[in-house]
């Protein structure tokens, strides 16, 4: 082979690859259909698609690995000219972890829990290099330094569980680099990390690519992450490659209706509007018809699309698209797809008031309990003062471990607060129910007054009156977990309807169907079990179950973070519609600042269980006044290759709040000095009306 030929030869060349499994009926169902993919040395390719699109299967097939049950039905995978599926197992083992490295999605699970991380990297080096023991040790430290872990010598001696998620991911990258890979496969490497950590890891990957020139295939559902590291992007849909081209073209002017819709469904920091949702859902493996797989959801659909399967062809913009009408995709303009900006809720009477709420997970020993001593150390959540108006959406934002969900659980009565009060205002006509008559834990504030009354919420859910319980409902993050797998949809919906309204028989069924229709599912869902529904459908049922109680307040715990973006947009739209129709207030917990921007009227920023900044969403996003808010907003990604996140603080994860002073003192990029360590900063208004408040010494000094 001549030099010219080898330089023109792609590093990875996948031709006509089809992968499938045989179902119980003996039919072959293809999860990859006729995929052509070419990666040249030095490129960074992003593989984008929603769950089930086959992107991970394709990436793993690049090292001839197929999950059990899957087999190749057609095509070839060539790496450096070698057909990988023809290689013997021993050669493949040398290749995997050697010249082809893999960074898995969940590094915490991919690392061996019983072995020190340094030893695990040395093990990779032993398998894939000829280095001696001492050289391996030195190289392992080098690698840890290369992935920008502080104090590599100290870190190498740690066990995986002693590292934070971001650190674990860095160790996994170091391990993949140990074999000296020519091709690095990254399978959703930043999914599940906090925004700031994600921004740092992506920065590291960019840096690695610049310094080593390693070819990368980056698999992700997150177009923002792809935009950050990839120069080329391939979009997968229902096991097919539907669009391929340079990142800028694919992310700015995609010549295919699917990525167009996908881009429109991503909420943006820049706009307080709900993203446009993509109707429908992708076909299950083997269910795509004779025509284009995307045709049933496509805005450009023509009769031809249903019968004739498009081929991948060259289109303007140096892209290749699998669409008969790719040239028309530009006509589907983004503004036409997105919805108008939402109107903020104007109602001002308070529905929920939290005063000086404190929650502690610390368990006291029995001696302390007898002595009546409070638990030692600072509380997990402390001094939370929040007011939520009727019909308003208040979002609690912060990184994982910031205590957002803890606050939510305390309001729901599932976790007793150690301190503070929670009050719910309810209409006066239900006074008898509200006071709970028999026990005195629900006291009325303005007894005898006309108008609404504030009820103190009992810390424990079992001591709350039924009508109070009805007014507060919960929707959870994980759709697989929020419905009982053994209950049909009918049973799930019957629970609030029976409990709060005593419905049964025909009335129960009618009301259930009514709610299913309101969340845009039909009566035929009544007999389904959770296992027979998609994530988005399950979440709709969970939302219907919460709203069936006709609550005043719905607590939403990361309700869309487990969903694909196109499904997320539909669920956000549903939540907004229900809020408008019924005047329900939401207390939303989310780590996704773009989702919060789309949904919330007011934002409260939490760090280590302490409020940093509270204010109207528009003000907080336009003028973030607490250094932590700036850090969070700076790290948010946009699906735009030219967007550069600002990394303002280190992505150190703190184990607990400091004993004294400002909660953010240790990571703050604008730290003033000892005053931050010693004194808790007081609240201070940023705007004239005093609605936007911040808790930072910086603003006192000015």
């Amino acid at each position: 082979m001549t030099d010219v030929a080898s330089s023109a030869q792609p590093l990875l060349d996948i031709r006509g690859l089809s992968v499938g499994y045989t179902d119980r009926a003996g039919r072959v169902r293809e999860v990859l259909r006729d995929v052509d993919l070419c990666v040249h040395a030095g490129q960074t390719l992003g593989l984008v698609g929603e769950s089930g699109s086959g992107k991970s299967t394709l990436a793993l097939a690049a090292m001839a690995y197929l999950k059990p049950g899957l087999r190749r039905t057609a095509g070839s995978v060539r790496f450096q000219g070698q057909d990988l599926f023809e290689l013997p197992e021993a050669a493949l083992q040398r290749l995997r972890g050697g010249v082809v490295g893999l960074v898995p999605q969940n590094a915490g699970q991919a690392l061996t829990p019983t072995s020190r991380v340094g030893a695990q990297i040395e093990e990779s080096l032993r398998l894939h290099t000829a280095l001696g023991v001492d050289a391996r040790r030195a190289r392992a430290l080098e690698l840890l330094e290369q992935v920008r872990l502080p104090q590599p010598a100290l870190l190498a001696r740690r066990y995986p569980h002693e590292l934070s998620g971001g650190q674990q991911q860095r160790v996994a990258i170091a391990m993949a680099l140990a074999g000296g890979p020519r091709l690095l496969l990254l399978d959703e490497p930043t999914t599940g990390l906090d925004v700031t950590t994600q921004a740092h890891v992506l920065d590291l990957l960019r840096e690695l690519h610049r310094s080593t020139g390693t070819t990368m295939v980056y698999v992700s559902h997150d177009l923002g992450a792809i935009a950050r590291v990839c120069d080329r992007v391939s979009v997968m849909y229902a096991g097919e490659l539907v669009l391929e081209g340079p990142a800028r073209g694919v992310l700015r002017q995609p010549a295919h209706p699917y990525p167009r819709g996908l881009l429109a469904s991503i909420p943006r920091l820049s706009a307080a509007r709900l993203p446009a949702s993509l109707p429908g859902r992708p076909p299950a493996p083997g269910e795509a018809g004779a025509g284009c797989a995307f045709a049933p959801r496509c805005g450009l659909v023509q009769p031809r699309c249903a019968t004739e399967r498009p081929v991948l062809r060259d289109v303007p913009g140096a892209m290749r698209a699998r669409c008969h009408y790719a040239e028309r995709a530009h006509g589907l303009d983004a503004p036409a797809l997105s919805t108008p900006p939402r109107e903020p809720a104007g109602l001002t009477d308070a529905l929920l008031e939290l005063r000086d709420l404190g929650v502690s997970y610390a368990r006291r020993g029995w001696i302390d309990q007898l002595a009546g001593r409070p638990p030692a150390g600072p509380m997990t959540v402390d001094g939370v003062d929040l007011t939520l108006a009727r019909g308003q959406v208040l979002a609690l934002v912060g990184e994982s471990g910031s205590g957002k969900s803890t606050v939510l659980k305390a309001v729901a009565g599932l976790l007793a607060p150690a301190r503070g009060t929670m009050r719910l205002t309810a209409p006066v006509d239900v006074e008898g129910d509200l006071t709970g008559a028999s026990n005195g834990d629900a006291t009325t504030a303005r007894r005898g007054d006309a108008g609404p009354q504030a009820v103190t919420l009992a810390p424990d859910v079992t001591r709350r009156a039924r009508d109070v319980l009805r007014r507060i409902q919960l929707v959870f993050q994980n759709p697989d977990d929020s419905l009982n797998p053994r209950h049909t949809v009918a049973t799930a919906l019957a629970q609030p309807l029976q409990l709060y309204f005593g419905l049964s028989g025909v009335a129960l069924r009618e009301r259930s169907i009514e709610w299913l229709e309101r969340v845009r599912l039909g009566a035929h869902y009544l007999d389904r079990l959770p296992g027979q529904m998609s994530g988005g459908e399950k979440q709709r049922v969970a939302i219907a179950r919460a709203f069936a109680a006709e609550p005043d307040l719905v607590l939403c715990d990361e309700v869309t973070s487990a969903l694909d973006v196109s499904v997320q947009a539909a669920v956000l739209d549903l939540l907004e519609t229900l809020r408008r129709e019924r005047g329900t207030a939401y207390l939303v917990v989310s780590h996704d600042l773009a989702v919060v921007r789309a949904l919330a009227d007011r934002v409260a920023v939490l760090y280590q269980g302490r409020l940093c900044e509270v204010g109207p969403a528009a003000d907080v996003y336009a003028r973030p006044s607490h250094p932590y808010t700036e850090v969070l907003l700076g790290a948010v990604l946009e699906p735009d290759p030219d967007h550069v996140p600002r990394l303002l603080a280190q992505d150190v994860v703190e184990a607990g709040p400091p004993a004294r002073g400002c909660a953010f003192q240790r990571r703050c990029p604008k730290r003033l000095g000892p005053v931050c360590d010693e004194q808790v900063p007081p609240w201070r208004a940023v705007d004239v009306a005093g609605r936007h408040r911040v808790r930072c010494h910086l603003h006192l000094a000015v």
Partner: protein, 290 residues
């Protein structure tokens, strides 16, 4: 969507999956055969089970006595056929009782936790640390033999380990969001147990129940073998093996046939339990040994 709009019942699906496995089909066939034989044995018996005949002692299997005769000249075929009835009757009553009380208590403890859970689980540990035969004999020696003592004794002691299994299974469910949602809605404890927890631990309890049944059969036969179970002349496999023990070198058939009968039943139950565990997705190998 590949799934039908109207779901097949969970247990119907489990049964189909169970029979589709070779171990499940064989096991279930063995168990059903034993149950059928036990129910119809009075009509299948060829002789009087207690007819003693000094002239017919220790006859080898032949045309008249298909399985031969024992040391008292009783027909082994008849006695083997009838020998499982008592054991099956006792265990078929005691097993559900054991699974029911152990399962309910376990699920309750798994939900409430706290001090009650701490104390009761230490009692369970203490009970489990004693060899079963010791505690069993203690009760039987105190209260005497007979079904009125045997059934409650077996049901009690074999329910204790079920507490653990049910508690562990409930623990896996209690922290899940749908249980939190039910608690936040304000459902009472019993409603949460009945609607949210029990349907999700039933799989584990079914498998556990099948295993308990086979162990209980062995325990009952062992008690009979030791002379604390069925009293002669009622035929019982354990008792028959005990009687035949001294004559095994010269008349192995008197012991062999009841052993084969008991073993095939136990194997049948174990195969069924294994297949059931796989069909419902509870792998026994993953559970803590009790």
């Amino acid at each position: 969507m590949t799934t039908p709009a109207r779901p097949a019942g969970h247990w119907g699906q489990v049964l189909r999956d169970l029979v589709a496995r070779p171990s499940g089909a064989v096991g279930l066939a063995l168990v059903l055969l034993h149950l059928a034989l036990a129910a119809s044995s009075p009509w299948l018996a060829t002789h009087d089970y207690k007819a003693v005949s000094p002239t017919l002692m220790l006859l080898p299997p032949g045309a008249e006595h298909w399985f031969g005769t024992d040391h008292l000249g009783r027909d082994v075929y008849t006695r083997t056929l009838l020998g499982g009835r008592e054991a099956l009757l006792v265990t078929l009553v005691a097993t559900p009782v054991a699974v029911l009380w152990g399962g309910l208590l376990g699920v309750y403890l798994g939900l409430v936790g706290g001090r009650l859970d701490d104390v009761l689980m230490r009692v369970v540990d203490a009970l489990l640390s004693l060899p079963w035969i010791l505690k069993m004999l203690l009760l039987i020696v105190t209260f005497g033999t007979g079904l009125a003592v045997l059934v409650p004794t077996l049901a009690f002691f074999y329910g204790v380990p079920v507490i653990r299994i049910a508690r562990a299974a409930a623990h896996n469910v209690v922290a899940r969001d749908f249980v939190l949602a039910a608690r936040a809605r304000g459902h009472g404890r019993l409603a949460v147990i009945r609607r949210e927890l029990l349907p999700n631990v039933l799989d584990a309890l079914m498998v556990e129940g099948a295993m308990r049944w086979s162990w209980m059969l062995l325990a009952f036969s062992s008690l009979s073998f030791l002379g604390f179970g069925v009293s002669p002349p009622t035929p019982d496999w354990g008792l028959m093996v005990a009687d035949a023990r001294s004559y095994l070198p010269i008349a192995p058939w008197a012991g062999l046939f009841p052993i084969v009968a008991l073993s095939s039943l136990i194997i049948g139950i174990n195969l069924t339990a294994d297949a059931l565990a796989k069909a419902v997705g509870v792998d026994r190998a993953q559970k803590a040994p009790i």
